[in-house]
Symmetry: C2
Subunit: 506 residues, 2 copies
C-alpha cells in the first residue's frame, strides 16, 4: 500500500504509476454461506437428473459430438442426448476439483478452485462508454486500453477474454488481435476465443508460441467460455471450440447463460434445476472428449423485466441463484464461475453501482472461484466502460479485504490498547495503533473521504469524473511487461499468416 499512496499523492504520477503493485491471488477465508440443507441439494440434483434422463440436452449440428456421446453410453435420439445419472456422474467425477492456470509471467499463475478466487474483466460488450464520448461501437484500441487497465490493477487477477468486441476489425480475424493484445500488453492469464473450432485452434497455437506447447499441456494457459444456449442446447460452434480446448488440455467454463422467465422457468428453483442439468451435461461431454481436462462449472443468470422483456441485472433472485449454484458446484467438487459487477444501468451512476455491488457481494458470499465480468460492465453487458472498470476495481480491493478470515489473535484483540485508553479518550496514539495503523483498514484510492468543504474546493468531482482522470493517467503511465522479441516476432508472423488464410464467413 505504501507504494500506491506515494503514487497517488506524488506530483509525478506518470513516472511512478508504471510500478505495478503485485497483490496475491485472493483467498476466501470466511465460512461458506449455504442456503440449502443436504436434502435441498439432493432434491435439486435429482430433479436435474430427471431433466437429463427424460427430456435431455440437444447437441446440434455436430455429428462428431453425437458420436462421442454414443461411444460413452449416452442415448442420443434426434440430436438430443439423454444422460442417465450413473453416466453423467461418472464423467463429471473425472474433472479435477482444482487446477493451476499458467500465465506468461509465472508470478501471475492462478489457482482455480477451492478457496481461491480470480477476478477477470467484463466479457463480450460490443459498445464502449466513456465519460467524454458516451457510447459508441467498441474498437480494437478500446480493447487494448482495457487490457492495459486490467494489467495495471493490483486487484484484477486475470486479463480476461473478449473484454470488448473490436468491431473495427473483421469478424473472422479479430480473435487473433485479441489474443495478441492479451499476450503483448499484459502478462496475466487470459481466455481463448470460442466462436469456432478454428478460432480455438488459433488461440491454442498462439499460447503454444508464448508459453510452450509442453507447458500448456501440463497446466492450461487458457480458460475459455463455452456458453450453453439455454434451454438445453449446445451448438456446433461452441461444441467445436470445446473439443479443441479439451483435446489441448485447455480449461473451459461450461456455463448456461439464462434470462429466467424466458430461457428457463420463472422461478429460482426451476432455473437452478435446468442450469445444473445443462452445466453437468457439458462437463460430462468435455470429460468424454478428454478425461481429466480442467473445467469450471458455470452459471450466468438474470431475471426479466415483465414490462419490456429486458434482462434485469443485480436482482435479488439472481443473488439467490448465484449462492445456490455455488453450493451445487461445491457439491460436485468442481470449481465455480459466476457473479461479477453486473448492472442494467446504461451509465456508471448509482443504479449501476447498487446493482454491481449486490452481485459482487453475492459473488464473495458464494465463494465464486472464477469471477468473469468482475469490472467494467454496463447496460446488461452491451457496453464496457473504463470508468466503471476502475470503480469496480476499487470494490474488488474491498472484496479482497472482506473475504479475509476474521482475525481474533492476541494482537487483533488489542487488549493493551483497551486497558490503557481512558474513558472518553482516544486510541489514535497508542502503541497498538502505531503498530497497526498502516495495515488495519482498507484504504481506497478512488473513493473520496474528504470533508464536503475540501471536496467542493477540489472541484466537486463525482466518482465517474475521478475514475475518468485516473484511467487517463494510468494509460499515460502504462509500460508493457517485457516480452521476448523472438516470441513477439513469432506471434506477429503467425497472425500475419493466418490473416491471409482465414476466409470470411458470410
Amino acid at each position: 500500500m505504501g507504494r500506491r499512496r506515494q503514487r497517488r499523492r506524488g506530483g509525478d504520477e506518470q513516472a511512478q504509476a508504471a510500478v505495478i503493485e503485485k497483490i496475491a491471488q485472493p483467498v476466501h477465508g470466511l465460512p461458506l454461506y449455504n442456503l440449502l440443507d443436504e436434502d435441498g441439494v439432493q432434491l435439486i440434483h435429482q430433479k436435474s437428473m430427471e431433466v437429463l434422463a427424460e427430456v435431455g440436452i440437444a447437441f446440434m449440428d455436430d455429428p462428431e459430438a453425437v458420436g462421442i456421446l454414443q461411444e460413452h453410453g449416452v442415448d442420443v435420439r434426434d440430436e438430443t442426448a439423454y444422460f442417465d445419472e450413473a453416466t453423467v456422474m461418472e464423467y463429471v467425477n473425472k474433472a479435477p476439483s482444482q487446477f493451476t492456470q499458467i500465465a506468461r509471467n509465472p508470478a501471475n499463475n492462478v489457482i482455480v478452485g477451492g478457496n481461491h478466487m480470480i477476478f477477470a474483466p467484463v466479457y463480450g460488450p460490443p459498445f464502449y462508454w466513456t465519460a467524454e464520448r458516451g457510447r459508441r461501437e467498441a474498437k480494437l484500441a478500446d480493447f487494448v486500453d482495457m487490457v492495459k487497465l486490467a494489467y495495471s490493477s493490483p486487484y484484477m487477477t486475470h486479463s480476461g477474454g473478449t473484454i470488448v468486441e473490436p468491431t473495427d476489425e473483421p469478424t473472422h480475424t479479430r480473435h487473433l488481435d485479441m489474443v495478441y493484445a492479451h499476450l503483448k500488453y499484459s502478462d496475466k492469464p487470459f481466455m481463448g476465443s470460442v466462436t469456432s473450432a478454428n478460432n480455438a485452434a488459433d488461440s491454442v497455437a498462439m499460447a503454444e508460441i508464448a508459453l510452450g506447447a509442453d507447458a500448456i499441456r501440463e497446466n492450461p494457459a487458457m480458460i475459455s467460455l463455452i456458453n450453453i444456449s439455454s434451454p438445453r442446447r449446445m451448438d456446433d460452434r461452441m461444441l467445436g471450440a470445446l473439443k479443441v480446448y479439451a483435446r489441448a488440455k485447455q480449461a473451459t467454463i461450461i456455463a448456461p447463460f439464462i434470462v429466467s422467465g424466458a430461457m428457463s422457468p420463472a422461478s429460482v428453483a426451476g432455473t437452478l434445476i435446468q442450469a445444473n442439468a445443462e452445466a453437468l451435461a457439458g462437463i460430462a461431454f468435455a470429460q468424454m472428449v478428454q478425461p481429466g481436462t480442467p473445467v469450471i462449472y458455470g452459471t450466468f443468470q438474470t431475471t426479466i423485466d415483465m414490462k419490456s422483456g429486458a434482462p434485469i441485472l443485480g436482482a435479488p433472485e439472481s443473488q439467490q441463484t448465484l449462492l445456490l449454484s455455488a453450493q451445487m458446484a461445491r457439491h460436485y467438487g468442481l470449481p465455480f464461475r459466476s457473479g461479477g459487477s453486473l448492472a442494467s444501468s446504461k451509465i456508471p451512476d448509482a443504479q449501476a453501482a447498487y446493482e454491481s455491488a449486490n452481485m459482487l457481494q453475492g459473488t464473495v458470499a458464494g465463494r465464486v472461484n472464477f469471477v468473469l465480468h468482475s469490472a467494467g460492465w454496463l447496460e446488461g453487458g452491451l457496453a464496457a466502460s473504463p470508468e466503471k472498470f476502475l470503480m469496480d476495481c476499487e470494490m474488488l480491493g474491498m472484496m479482497h479485504t472482506l473475504m479475509k478470515p476474521v482475525d481474533i489473535s492476541d494482537e487483533a484483540q488489542a487488549m493493551d490498547s483497551l486497558r490503557t485508553v481512558e474513558p472518553g479518550g482516544h486510541h489514535l496514539g497508542t502503541e497498538h495503533t502505531m503498530r497497526n495503523m498502516r495495515t488495519a483498514f482498507y484504504q481506497a484510492e478512488l473513493f473520496d473521504y474528504n470533508s464536503a468543504e475540501q471536496w467542493e474546493a477540489e472541484g466537486k468531482k463525482d466518482a465517474v469524473a475521478r475514475a475518468h482522470e485516473k484511467y487517463k493517467n494510468i494509460l499515460k503511465a502504462y509500460e508493457p511487461p517485457a516480452l521476448d522479441p523472438a516470441v513477439d516476432d513469432a506471434l506477429t508472423e503467425f497472425i500475419a499468416k493466418r490473416k491471409t488464410e482465414i476466409e470470411p464467413e458470410f
Copy 2:
C-alpha cells in the same frame, strides 16, 4: 405490486399515489451467517468481561446512575463502574429477546427481534442535499418531507427519529416539532428524543396523548437511540434519557458509535470487544432501572481514513464488524441494531451506492433486527437526501426479496415447464410462467431497464434525476393518514404549553 405498477404508468400519478401500499414487515428466512465458531464467541465474550471488570465504564455526572449501579452490586470508583460477569449477565438476561413496538396505526406495529427486520430512515444529519439545491442546513420543512417519504414507501417499516436536524427551530424545543411530525404525517412507529431527560419525558407525554398511557406501557410506542460515548463512557444526557425511557417501559437502543482506530483499537476484534462491553454495560444498567424493559443491542462502527482522520463508511472491515456484532447479540438473545445504507460520498453518485450496498448487504446477511439509517444517508451522516432516500428504498425492496427463504416447492421446481419447452425454445408462454410471472421476480420502480435507445429518447436520466422527479411527485400526491382531531388538538396544546415552559440552555 399491481397498484404500484398502475401508479407509475398511469397518467394521473398525483391522484393515485396517495394509495399507500402496505407490505408486511420483512422476515429473514435465510440461514444465519456466522463468522465465528463457538470458541470465537466465547473468546470475545471473555475479553469483554475483562474490560468490564478491570477497566470499567464511566457513568459521568449522574450521581443517581452511580447510586443505581451501587445498589445492584456494581463496584463504582471515581464514576467508573467495574462490572463482574455474574452481575452484568444477570441483568442482561432480564431483557426480552423479542417485543412489539406499537404504532398509532396498529397495522404498522412491528416485532423487534428474532427473524424480524425493521427498516428505519437515516438519523441525525444537520444538512440536507437535493439535486436542485445541493447541500444546505436542514429545516423543519425538510424533516416533514422526509417523514412523508418514509410514510409513502412500502419498504420503509418505520418513521425513524431525527431524520434530519431541523436547524431552523430552536435547539431546546425542536424535539417537540419532530415528535409531532412523526405523529401527524405518518402512522408508522417512531423514535423519541434523547438529547436530555426532559426531551425524553416530553416524547413519552406525546406518545401517551397519541397512543394512550396504558397502551404504551404494555408495549413500547418508542424506540430511542442511546449512544455510548466510546471509549467506555456514558454521559448525563444519555443516562437521563435512558432512565426516563426505561421507567416508562419505552424501548431503547444501547449503541456505541465507534470510529475504529480513534474511538476503539485499530482492529476489528479489538473494536468488537470494546463495543460488546459497552453495549452490555448499558443494557445491564437499563435493566437495573427497570427489569424487563425492552432494549436493543446496538453497534455502529466505521473505519478511519489514515490520511484525513475522516470516518470511512461502507468499508469491508465494517461489514465484518457488523456480522460479528450480530452474532454476539444473538449469543446474548437480544434484538440487534446496526447497518443501513451508509456512505461517505457527498452526493448520491456511484461511490455512495457502492458503499450503501456493501453495508446493506451486510445488514441482511447479519439479520439486523432494527436497521437505522436504512435510507437517505450521505456524507458520513452529515447530510440526508430525498433522492438518496428513494434510491435506497428501491434497494430495501430488493432486500425484502433477497431475505425470503429459498422456495424449492413443487411449484417452484417448475418441472411441468422444464418438461414441455423444446431445446432452444422459450418459457415465456408456458402455463407455469403465466401462473408465476407477476410475482416471480422483484420489479423495480426507480431503476431503469429500458434499451439504451429508449433511455436516450426519454432524456438520458440518471438514477438521481429519476429519484428527484419521483420524490417531488410523491410529495405532491401525499395525503396524511387520518388523525383524531381531539388527539391532534391535545398534541398541539401540549407543544404550545411546553414551548412557553422550556428554557433554552446556553
